[in-house]
Symmetry: C2
Subunit: 119 residues, 2 copies
Amino acid sequence: MQKVNRAEKLALFGDHWHPRIVGELNGRHVKLAKILGESIWHQHDNEDELFLVVKGRFRMKYRDRQVWLEEGEILIVPRGVEHQPVAEEEAHILMFERASTLNTGNVQNDRTVAHLARI
Amino acid sequence: MQKVNRAEKLALFGDHWHPRIVGELNGRHVKLAKILGESIWHQHDNEDELFLVVKGRFRMKYRDRQVWLEEGEILIVPRGVEHQPVAEEEAHILMFERASTLNTGNVQNDRTVAHLARI
């Protein structure tokens, strides 16, 4: 029942591609992340994912096209769809997804963060 | 897989306390609403609710206190907690909740909007 100020939470960390949990409801997590450069191509077989741009902009690449996302815009990536987030400059994003969702989906490598911190 | 621009969606309607659905994922709805004045006291017995201020500010009143929410801030109201949103001036908010969640929770009256439009 405490409010979450996104800027205050984002000031608590600086690393990229490492989401933090800032809220939970109905078995879903609200996460904040800083991104810069390319993530990896991956998909989530059973989970849709929501992205909201808090600051900056980035591109969501699909295999056949890409979507530019500006500050305040929202994108829902349906389950089973391969995607790759790319940020030429640092962007801050909010994600909303199932508590079980892994950041790298079906791919597990050194980018995978299995246990996200709550801040 | 189309992005949602909140300002564009919000320009499509003008009435208050009547959320529109702008996205769906994992059985959850993303909604946008314009609010002005007082909503009613209500609670959701089985559903947590997320509020994010898109524009303006508003107060979430609980029975024993209140929380002021500024632009960009997030509040999660846990299930079972009575609350009353109040906006002295028009505010635009994003909500994230179960597809089954009624805007007036356990109270059904002329403020209840049982079938939300998708825009």
